[in-house]
Symmetry: C2
Subunit: 431 residues, 2 copies
C-alpha cells in the first residue's frame, strides 16, 4: 500500500460535478480512509468564479488564487481536473500537473481523446497516475474493468451505448411517439440534455469515448480514423419503420477487429428488438466487450450526472490512495502499437435505406436499378404510398453490402428529380 497516511487533493473546477465531489469526499473521508488505508484530504479548490453562488461552503483558506498554483504547490499530491474542454485551462493544468509529478484525475474525455498519448507519456516517465474513469460512461466502471478486471483478455470488439442524451432521445421518440425536436425540448427541461447538446447529438461525445476505449482494448495509440454520424437525421418515420421490421434504432459506438482490419465507427444503428442493446432505454449506458478467454462481458449503468461521475472520480482517487500506480493506457507507452485503423468504406453492412419519392410509375424500378447497378442486393422492400401528398416512401433492407456501394446508391438517388428529400442509410447490426 501507499506509505503516506494522507494525500492532499486540489479540485479545479466547481461546477455541478466539482461541487458534488467536494461534498461527497468531505462527508465520506472516514470510510474512504479506512478502505484505502490513506486519507483523501481536500487541500485546495479553484474555479473560474470564486464568488459564484454555490451549494457548498468552502473555507477561504482552501481557495487558490490561480488554478495553476495547484501544480506548483509541494503539498498537493492529486489534482482533480473538472474544467472540461480539450484546450485552454484544462489542457494547461493537466500538462503542468503531470510535469510536476502530481497524480491527475480527470473527467475530461475531449482532453484525453486528443492529448491522452502525450499526457500518458509524461505520467509514465514521472511515475504518477493519470486516471480518467469519469471520462467514459460515468457510473460504468469500464476503464478499471478493462485495465484490471479483464486484464487477461485479448479483446476483439468493444461496443455499446455511450451517450445517455442521444439514447434518451431515441428511446423517447420510440416510446412516446414524438418527433426529434419535441423530445429534445423535453430532454432539456428534464436535465437530460445540455443547453448546447451539439456534441451529444452529432456523435462527437461517443467518438471521444470510443477512441479511448479502443486504445485501451487494442493496446494502440489513440487514432483519429473513425467514422462518426450523429442522430439528427433520424426521424419518427425511421423509428416506426424499424419497429415494423423488428428493429430499434440506437446510437452505437463500435471498435472491432474484423479479420486483420480494425474499425472505429459511431452511427445510428438498427438493432434487433430482442437484442440486449435494444433493451437499454433512457439515459443508461452499456458497454459490451468480447474478449478471450472471458467471452462476452457487459457492464451497464448510469452514464452521466454528478452522482455517477463522482462514483468514478472516487474510484480513481482511491486507486491513487492505495498506491496502485498503473500505465494510463494499460500498457507502457513503449509497448503501445501504432495500429492502422481502416476506413469503413470497404466494410460490409446490411442496411436500411429510405427514399422519399414522387409517387409515379417508373420510380420504384429506377431506384431498384440504381441499387442493383451498385452491387447491392435487396432483402426486403416496403413501399408506403402517401396518396394525399402524391408521395411515397420506399424502405429497403439490403443484404450485406460494401459500405462504399451503399453510399453510392444514396448519392446517386439524391440526384434524381423524383427524390423529394435526402435519402437515408442506416446501418444494421446483425450480431
Amino acid at each position: 500500500m501507499n506509505n503516506k497516511k494522507k494525500l492532499n487533493i486540489a479540485i479545479v473546477g466547481l461546477g455541478n460535478i466539482g461541487s458534488y465531489l467536494y461534498k461527497y469526499l468531505n462527508s465520506n473521508k472516514n470510510i474512504l480512509s479506512k478502505k484505502n488505508n490513506c486519507t483523501p484530504y481536500i487541500k485546495f479548490v479553484s474555479a473560474r468564479n470564486r464568488n459564484k453562488k454555490r451549494k457548498i461552503k468552502i473555507n477561504s483558506a482552501k481557495w487558490l488564487n490561480n488554478y495553476l498554483d495547484a501544480t506548483k504547490n509541494k503539498d498537493v499530491d492529486i489534482i482533480v481536473e473538472l474544467i472540461g474542454g480539450a484546450e485552454g485551462p484544462a489542457k494547461k493544468l493537466v500538462f503542468a500537473a503531470l510535469k510536476n509529478k502530481k497524480h491527475v484525475v480527470t473527467a475530461n474525455k475531449a482532453l484525453i481523446a486528443k492529448y491522452g498519448d502525450k499526457l500518458s507519456k509524461i505520467a509514465e516517465s514521472n511515475n504518477v497516475n493519470l486516471e480518467f474513469e469519469a471520462a467514459v460512461c460515468g457510473g460504468v466502471p469500464i476503464i478499471r474493468s478493462l485495465k484490471e478486471g479483464l486484464i487477461a483478455n485479448k479483446i476483439g470488439k468493444v461496443y455499446g451505448i455511450f451517450n445517455g442524451t442521444s439514447n434518451y432521445i431515441l428511446s423517447s421518440m420510440d416510446n412516446k411517439d414524438k418527433e426529434f425536436s419535441d423530445v429534445l425540448k423535453d430532454a432539456k427541461k428534464l436535465g437530460y440534455a445540455e443547453s448546447n447538446p451539439t456534441s451529444d447529438l452529432n456523435g462527437d461525445d461517443v467518438s471521444a469515448k470510443l477512441k479511448i476505449l479502443s486504445s485501451l482494448c487494442f493496446n494502440s495509440f489513440l487514432n483519429n480514423n473513425i467514422h462518426v454520424e450523429g442522430i439528427k437525421q433520424i426521424d419518427k418515420e425511421d423509428i416506426v419503420n424499424a419497429k415494423k421490421l423488428g428493429y430499434k434504432i440506437k446510437l452505437l459506438g463500435f471498435a472491432e477487429h474484423l479479420g486483420k482490419s480494425i474499425y472505429q465507427r459511431v452511427h445510428p444503428t438498427l438493432v434487433k428488438t430482442n437484442s440486449y442493446v435494444a433493451s437499454i432505454d433512457g439515459v443508461l449506458n452499456a458497454v459490451i466487450i468480447d474478449g478471450k478467454p472471458v467471452g462476452q462481458s457487459i457492464i451497464q449503468g448510469e452514464g452521466a450526472g454528478a452522482a455517477a461521475t463522482t462514483s468514478a472520480l472516487i474510484s480513481d482517487i482511491s486507486s491513487i490512495l492505495r498506491g496502485n500506480i498503473k500505465f494510463p493506457f494499460s500498457i507502457s507507452n513503449k509497448e503501445r502499437k501504432n495500429l492502422k485503423f481502416k476506413s469503413i468504406q470497404e466494410r460490409y453492412f446490411s442496411a436500411y435505406l429510405r427514399f422519399d419519392v414522387i409517387d409515379k410509375p417508373g420510380v420504384l424500378s429506377n431506384i431498384t436499378n440504381i441499387i442493383s447497378k451498385n452491387n447491392v442486393s435487396i432483402k426486403r422492400l416496403i413501399q408506403n404510398p402517401n396518396r394525399k401528398k402524391g408521395a411515397s416512401s420506399i424502405v429497403i433492407i439490403t443484404h450485406s453490402s460494401k459500405d462504399n456501394s451503399l453510399n453510392k446508391v444514396i448519392k446517386e438517388a439524391n440526384k434524381k428529380s423524383y427524390v423529394l428529400r435526402k435519402s437515408k442509410l442506416i446501418r444494421i447490426d446483425d450480431n
Copy 2:
C-alpha cells in the same frame, strides 16, 4: 508499482482450471509483464496425481513433492489454490500460505465463505493479498468492481443470477418445454452441469457467493443467517403458469438493506418477463448493484468454465504483480462490522402459491379460507381443472404478505387430505 521485476507463482491443483491457467499464463507471460511491469513466473506446480494424463507438458523440475512445500519455499511469492472444498488440503494450504506471508489467489468460494474472516485477518496482519475474484461468478469482474470501481458507494442491495447450471436448467425448461430431469441430463452431457450437481441445484453454491458479496457490500463479517432454497422442486407446470402470468422463474440471490433490516436470501423467484434478469438465459451470470451515488450498476458475463475463471485468476495475479495490496474484504478487519442479519420470516413478499388438489366441491373455498385466515390476501387466482385425473391445480398470486404467514398457509394446506402433493410457495420479485 511493485519493486520486484518478477514474482514466482505456485499453482496447486491442476484440474480443468489449473491446466488452463498454466497454459494461459505461460503463453501470455510477455503481455502480462508489460501491462503490470512485473513478470508472472510459474515456479512450481502441484496436484494430487502427478502421473495423471494432462493436456499440458510440465517440466519435472517444477513439480513439488508435497503441495505444502509451496508455503515454505522462500522463492514463492504467490500461491494459486485450485484444489477446492472448504476443508482438507485447500484449507491447510491457504492458512499456511498466508501465515508464511505468501499472497494467495483462490477460486474456492466454499473456503472463502466459511473461513474468509479468519483468512483475511492473517492476510491483513502479514500485509499480503488474499484474492478471490474467481470464487464469485468467474467471468464477471464483480469483486474487483465492488472493491475498486464502485468503492465510493454505499450499497443498499446486491442481487442477481450467480449460478450458471441452475439458470441453464430453468431457462431450458422454459425454452425447450422439458421437465427438470430431462434438462439436467442434457446439461450434464453438454458440460453445463457437473456429474454431482448437488450444490448447484440446492442453492449452496449461490449461498456461498452471496455471503461473500454481502460481506463486501455492507462492510460486515461473513454471516450464516441466510435463507436458502434450490430449484429441485420447480416443475414445468410452474414455469408454464408463471409464463401465463407474465413471469419467468429464476434462481436469485439477494442481499439487501430494507429499512433497518438486512436480509440474505437465495430462492427461486418469479420475475417479470420484461425485466432485465428475466432476459439472462443459459449459463450466463448477472450481478445487479444498487449503490449511492452510482445508482444501479449491472455486470454480466460467463459465470463459470476454465476460460472465464482464468480471466478472473489473472486479474487477481495482475493486481498482486502491480503491488496493489488491499484489504481482502475491502476494509480493514478492525473496521468490519458484526451486522445482524434478519430471518426472512418477518419480511413481506408477494408470492405464487400452487395447490394440487382433488377436484371436488368445497376444496377451493377451503383453500381460500386457509389463506385469508392467515392474513394473506389474494391478487389473482387461476384454477386449472384436470378432469381426467379428477384433480385440479389452484394457482394463486398473493398481495404482499408476511413470509411467515405464507409458509403457514402451505403447511396447513399440506395437512389436508384433499391436497395431492406438496403445495408450492415461490416468492415474487416486484421490483
